[in-house]
Symmetry: C2
Subunit: 308 residues, 2 copies
């Protein structure tokens, strides 16, 4: 250990992070439930101890200095690890209990959760789950910031440094309007059949869009200008005759019931995504998340019932 005793406190780091996020001493003090002078004085002490000015004070605005930005990143990390210490202690005192905030991407949530949530409630009655639906990038930054304990995502997206538990391989299928040339034929549809075909895809930001797009490029299919905001609207638009699309197996029972589309399997190599539960390295809830992931893994086949 380098330092005989630490010249700053966790409290001071919290204050600093609060100011960095609110860019106001007053608001930061409010958030930390202390008076503004108390926070001011602690921050002055912190800057003194570090020998670096973290903030530039103007009457109307507070700015984070350049060195401050780097140091605040470290402050956040320390606070997250301190939270983790507390969380780990709680888990040791009473495993599989407490609050667990989980993220899910929009192309999984509406299909998996209706089945998985009751299963989880039954299996882990002491665990209070809070689900948050968002795109992969937002979920991952929330995870790193300690605002989520875990997330259900597709491994094909960029995830950064996380631990993971694979839940299922989720193959893609073709959805076409009734009577469409591709909607009939024996056996799985070969890649070549999609050439020049008009394909509808999701909005930017959905990782499923990127995965489906890669497949379409390989098939030399043509992407339509219009983009859907969810798999549900995608299926509706296909049913309306706008074109064909790819759907993940997971969504098929739900979407093929809601919209009048024909589903066809694709020929090998079948495009697919890999669903996984991920969490921060050294998360105190790693053990809980592994147990929880096992249940989610059981839930997948109950949702994406096998077809021919």
């Amino acid at each position: 250990m380098r330092l005989a005793s630490h010249p700053f406190t966790l409290r001071q780091l919290q204050y600093a992070v609060a100011v960095a996020e609110t860019l106001s001493f007053r608001k930061a003090a409010e958030r930390c439930a202390v008076s503004q002078p108390a926070l001011s004085s602690q921050l002055a002490q912190l800057e003194d101890a570090l020998g670096v000015k973290l903030f530039e004070r103007g009457a109307k605005r507070v700015l984070v200095t350049a060195p401050g930005a780097e140091l605040l990143e470290r402050c956040r990390r320390i606070l997250v690890e301190a939270d983790d210490l507390y969380g780990a202690a709680q888990q040791l005192a009473e495993p599989l209990s407490g609050n667990l905030r989980l993220g899910v991407i929009p192309t999984i949530a509406p299909y998996l959760l209706p089945v998985a949530a009751p299963l989880l409630r039954k299996r882990f009655p002491r665990l209070r789950l809070a689900w948050r639906e968002d795109k992969t990038a937002d979920l991952m930054s929330a995870l790193r910031a300690g605002a989520l304990e875990g997330a259900v995502v597709a491994l094909e997206a960029e995830l950064g440094e996380v631990e993971q538990l694979v839940l299922a391989k989720d193959p893609f299928v073709l959805a076409a309007p009734r009577g469409h040339p591709l909607s009939e034929g024996p056996g799985p549809l070969p890649l070549s059949a999609l050439a020049k075909e008009d394909v509808l895809l999701l909005d930017e930001g959905h990782c499923f869009r990127a995965q489906a797009l890669a497949f379409c490029n390989r098939a030399r299919a043509h992407e339509l200008e219009f983009r859907a905001t969810s798999l549900g609207t995608l299926a509706q638009m296909v049913a309306g005759g706008a074109g064909v699309t790819l759907l993940p197996e997971l969504s098929v029972p739900t979407e093929s019931k809601r919209a009048s589309v024909v589903i066809r399997s694709l020929a090998a190599p079948v495009p697919s995504r890999t669903l996984a539960l991920v969490w921060r390295k050294r998360s105190p809830l790693a053990a809980s998340l592994r147990a929880l992931g096992a249940v989610l893994r059981e839930a997948y086949p109950k949702v994406a019932g096998r077809r021919g």
Copy 2:
């Protein structure tokens, strides 16, 4: 952030780690320069805040509980990161200054340091360097514990999660006694020439031993029972006719001058090790270490002067 305010302090974590390391409240209090009751009371508060007993107190001994072991690992991590925050601030206030504790393995230190140390002193006059010579495994655990800021090692060994800067590729050569059958011949020595040869190697624990041994196995050479404790004694024993050995290029100018041995290059693929400066991820001294590594890189060719 999960917690509104942290129910423990960095000081408490220091006390806990001190107890874990000394296994005595009294000694820990002494090390932390506080009275034993002060430490006792703070630890009681910490255990209370975490809801977990970290230590089992007996009159004659203190034991770390099973959950305590996991939590103390987290405590250490937090304290190291807090040290890093302080170190990063110091570096920002005055770059390339302060104390820098570096490890070197014994098969590098005596050859590289005599040349590198003066160069570094000249180039970074504000940087106070402290060198520690030890085997790779010990250096790496000191690095993780925050007792060293960096280390010069061979990448071929097991290093764990570190950042690195490659300094040089250090090829191995054969050292044989004068008049030995292998000591003469045109061009580099092929692998096959070593078959059935008696080879002397270093003691266990030296990473160079493992690297040389791998090569000997490929060559079907035979390792002698006796093992040397340093490259210096190894060369002396070879000079005395005990057998042949491998030496890293780095040590050749020194050792071939001291002991009367003949050096021969080895045929491609030439066995070698990769010298590198490594440091903990997110070390506050990363910038300094990179600059320092550049100087070490210049030093290598000055030591391992090219031969034919």
